[in-house]
């Protein structure tokens, strides 16, 4: 169900999305470097079965499977019917089912000495907003990523700042003591974080770079909402690291991901409740509180449980 390259036909078991907010976004489908040219892949986006691929000239192609159903692995059609808009950004193939604004910018990705790579793509049985909220959360580091991104008893989340700037949620001044913040870290360090949510299903963090004090590593989490309660999570790395191999970087991030996945899949309900009293927020959850309000204000309904009218 999670694999985009499976030869099994994808069962059309998801309800199609009718939420204009979710439809009018760019959504990632795959890391381009991981696609074989000229081959058809299948996936689901917002419940809609899609065929896609990269043609021999390196151009992306995406089309709804209802217009042309091809088994995965078939030769990629040159001009499929009802082709959807595409773009390749930050190494991923993006598409849309609606009429989106331009994709958010990550200026650091253009710096020549940055390593830009897809660290991991994994399926998670949860909603995209639950995955975003988990990414924004520092409080779970000592428990879920024990010995790596945090360690008991150092559990305090000190106050930080949250703002909505130019339509994006920003959390700044976040600090957390980390035993091993990145594959290049050798010792425990107080790590500075900035979080940014520019898209309802995409989030980016900027954290202290162990190799260059003056710069910050950039890590992106881009969710492909296959359905309301099923995502493929893509992790973009855009880091200054002259030493680690790609494999080492990937292994580190995959390790982190594999710790988050069982937690996310045991969160009930899977869709993110937007009512402020549905769960029990604390001060440390300031960024999540702002994210939920931001989603409510944009009127998103896909992957969330909207707050009752007026309660948002």
């Amino acid at each position: 169900m999670w694999s985009n390259s499976s030869t099994r036909p994808i069962v059309d078991s998801f309800e199609r999305c009718t939420d204009p907010v979710a439809l009018n976004q760019w959504h990632p489908l795959s890391a381009v470097a991981e696609l074989r040219r000229g081959v058809t892949y299948q996936t689901l986006l917002l419940g809609e079965p899609l065929g896609y691929g990269i043609d021999d000239a390196g151009e992306p192609v995406v089309w709804p499977a209802k217009a042309l159903h091809l088994p995965a692995g078939s030769p990629l059609p040159a001009t499929p019917p009802a082709g959807l808009p595409t773009q390749v950004s930050y190494g991923y193939l993006w598409t849309t089912l609606g009429d989106p604004q331009p994709l958010f910018a990550i200026p650091e990705a253009d710096e020549p000495d940055r390593r830009v790579l897809n660290a991991a793509t994994i399926g998670i049985a949860t909603s995209a907003p639950r995955a975003v909220e988990n990414f924004l959360d520092m409080g779970h580091f000592p428990f879920v990523h024990a010995g790596v991104l945090g360690a008991e008893p150092h559990t305090e989340v000190v106050d930080y700042r949250v703002d909505v700037v130019d339509g994006e949620v920003w959390a700044t001044g976040c600090r957390f003591p980390q035993p091993k913040a990145a594959p290049g870290s050798s010792a425990s360090a107080m790590t500075d974080y900035t979080y940014r949510v520019p898209h309802p299903y995409c989030t980016i963090l900027y954290k202290s770079c162990p190799f260059d004090e003056s710069r910050r590593d950039v890590i992106g989490l881009f969710l492909q909402p296959m359905g309301e309660e099923a995502v493929r999570a893509n992790m973009l790395l855009c880091v200054v690291d002259p030493i680690s191999t790609d494999t080492e970087i990937r292994r580190f991030q995959l390790g982190i991901f594999s710790q988050d996945k069982p937690i996310l899949e045991n969160q009930v309900p899977r869709r993110l409740p937007l009512s402020p009293i549905a769960e029990t927020p604390i001060r440390a959850d300031k960024s999540a509180i702002a994210y939920r309000r931001w989603l409510s204000e944009m009127g998103l309904t896909y992957g969330v449980i909207p707050a009752a009218d007026g309660a948002a």
Binding site: H140, V144, T155, V157, I277, T280, A284
Partner: protein, 595 residues
């Protein structure tokens, strides 16, 4: 089995019935078990005292299943953010992201009633009466392997009526005869006879959800040990056959509508620590279950709830005890984690008692009923430091005993330095013994020697250590001053005064404006802000009224308070944004309070 195998009871709505939800052996110590009843997911765990907790399977914070949490024998710890919930009350005792705050009392998981009987654990939404009574049935049965079946409970119960088995499967010969003694959709009793041999099997059906159930069987009487394996194998075969048949039948039936577990009201949003929730109320009634002399001049009391179970508490918490003579006194709970059935306090007979400690020592006896407040915690224990130094003077040991046990249970490093006159003056010696070498006793020291000893203790400062101190005012003052001189930061030195021994200067007169109540009041000399507010019907929660407990903390919007309390530390006082209205007054002619 005579008469009816199961006592006749009118069929109740499923929400009001008891169902078996686990076998007792599913719940070994330090394990957490997941099950489902009537569509609701449950986290089930046994505390080290044997008590079985049945809770809604969601952490209140972010909805992660508690059944993947850690059972430490006293508390269940959520895997996601380490929130801790106490056995029995299910109240939250610690939120690691905010180690300096006591969790709001309202953060409490949904619990369900529980009974353990016949090797099974029983629960229900709001069950009435008692669990099924099985006639002629002691605890001598044999619990069969639970069999999950993908079919509705009613259909399975119906098929169980035609369950047939041999009382003695290892014997050859006739297959005997079976009769259904009784049965409804919750339970079926089948009796098999073969000559003189007779065996009963009682089946209880756990409706997991609309499409699934678990059949939990009991054999009565328990077969002799040699026969157990053969009997279990026999029933395993028969049950497997029954399962295959009933699942086949269910597969061609229209699927039943899903069960919607009744939605419970969400927990209220966490309240800030210092929100005055209620004024001095005593909603709990407790009986003095035990009173004893725990040390020279110190009486120990164990207080047991009448009716409702006692609310959760955290180390450092105290209760207000309302005495028959009208006085209200605060006492710290000495209980460690998991010790949640009785509140335990220590009361020192004060020579100049105004009637509080005297009443408890002389009038109150075992069996008496007292009114107490819910536990409040103005002295929360941070558990995010590598080392904790606890310094107790005399009866000031009581909150620190609770802290020492919590730190020990969490396997965090600590020392409890206990200053007392003599061995006979050490309170709760049995708890001290359990804490072992981590308790350091300093006995019979004069003021100078005490000062030297404190100096030595505080000289061992490491970046990730903290100090908690509780005792007489002079000792606290000395400890705080010494700590400051030795470079301890304010936020690493925590203290609780039993009483504020500084003399309050109440000679000033000034005005207060209450921003929220829109009142403008005059506070004359000799009267406290708290008293003036109360006269005008504005109730601010307060407790010690000595500037020590922090209950009456309010926000200051304008003006300069004249801090006279011992609760706020110097840095907090300098900010002038909060004050204790029971003792503190105004330096400016006017104060604006957020009340």
């Amino acid at each position: 089995m005579n008469d009816e195998g199961i006592a006749a009871a009118p069929m109740l709505d499923a929400a009001f019935s008891w169902f078996p939800i686990a076998s007792s052996e599913d719940l070994p110590f330090r394990h957490t078990y997941h099950t489902k009843l009537l569509g609701r997911e449950l986290a089930v765990w046994r505390a080290d005292d044997g008590y079985v907790n049945v809770w809604e399977d969601r952490c209140l914070h972010r909805g992660v299943r508690l059944s993947i949490g850690l059972n430490d024998g006293a508390e269940l710890k959520c895997q996601y953010h380490g929130w801790r919930y106490a056995s029995r009350s299910a109240g939250c005792t610690y939120i690691p992201a905010h180690p300096a705050d006591a969790p709001a009392r309202t953060i409490c998981c949904t619990t369900f009633p529980v009974v353990e009987r016949y090797g099974l654990v029983w629960s229900g939404e709001e069950p009435l009466g008692d669990v099924a009574q099985v006639a002629l049935f002691g605890d001598e049965g044999l619990t069969l392997r639970p069999v999950p079946i993908h079919a509705p409970a009613a259909l399975v119960a119906e098929r169980l009526r035609s369950y047939r088995f041999r009382p003695n499967p290892t014997a050859t010969g006739s297959s005997g005869e079976c009769t259904v003694e009784s049965g409804d959709e919750r339970a079926v009793v089948v009796t098999a006879r073969d000559g003189t041999a007779e065996m009963n099997v009682v089946f209880f059906v756990q409706p997991v959800d609309a499409r699934t159930c678990v059949v939990r069987g009991l054999l009565v009487p328990r077969p002799v040990d040699d026969a157990v394996v053969g009997v279990l194998r026999h029933h395993n075969e028969r049950m497997s056959t029954l399962r295959d048949e009933v699942e086949e039948a269910a597969a061609v039936m229209p699927p039943p509508p899903p069960m919607q577990p009744r939605v419970r009201a969400p927990a209220p949003v966490a309240e800030p620590t210092h929100t005055p929730a209620d004024t001095r109320t005593a909603p709990l009634r407790v009986v003095v279950a035990r009173k004893w002399a725990t040390a020279d001049g110190i009486a120990g009391f164990e207080l047991e709830s009448i009716g409702e179970r006692l609310p959760a508490f955290q180390p450092g918490a105290h209760i207000d005890v309302h005495l028959p003579n009208g006085l209200v006194r605060q006492y710290s709970l000495t209980n460690g984690p998991g010790d949640v059935v009785r509140y335990r306090i220590g009361v020192k007979l004060e020579p100049d008692s105004r009637g509080g400690s005297k009443a408890l020592h002389e009038s109150i006896r075992e069996g008496d009923v007292l009114a107490i407040s819910e536990p409040r915690n103005n002295f929360p224990l941070r558990r995010d430091r590598a080392t904790t130094i606890l310094i107790a003077g005399g009866i000031g040991v009581t909150p620190l005993i609770a802290m020492a046990q919590a730190l020990g249970h969490a396997q965090l490093d600590f020392r409890l330095h206990y200053f007392a006159q003599s061995p006979a003056h050490l309170a709760f010696p049995e708890v001290l013994d359990l804490l072992g070498e981590r308790v350091v006793r300093h006995l019979g020291l004069g003021p100078t020697e005490t000062g030297q000893r404190l100096q030595e203790i505080l000289a061992e400062r490491r970046p990730s250590s903290q100090v908690y101190v509780c005792g007489p005012g002079s000792m606290l003052g000395a400890t705080r001053q010494m700590a400051a001189e030795l470079g301890w930061p304010d936020d690493a030195v925590h203290f609780e005064y039993f009483k504020n021994t500084t003399v309050v200067d109440d000679s000033s007169a000034f005005d207060v404006e209450l921003a929220r109540s829109a009142l403008h009041l005059r506070v004359p000399a000799g009267t406290t802000i708290l008293e003036v507010l109360a006269e005008h019907g504005v109730i601010v929660a307060s407790s010690c009224q000595q500037g020590a407990c922090g209950t009456c903390l309010v926000s200051v919007l304008d003006g300069v308070p004249d801090h006279q309390d011992v609760y706020l530390n110097d840095a907090e006082k300098q900010r002038n944004d909060r004050m204790l209205v029971c003792v503190s007054r105004a330096k400016s002619p006017r104060l604006v309070l957020d009340v």
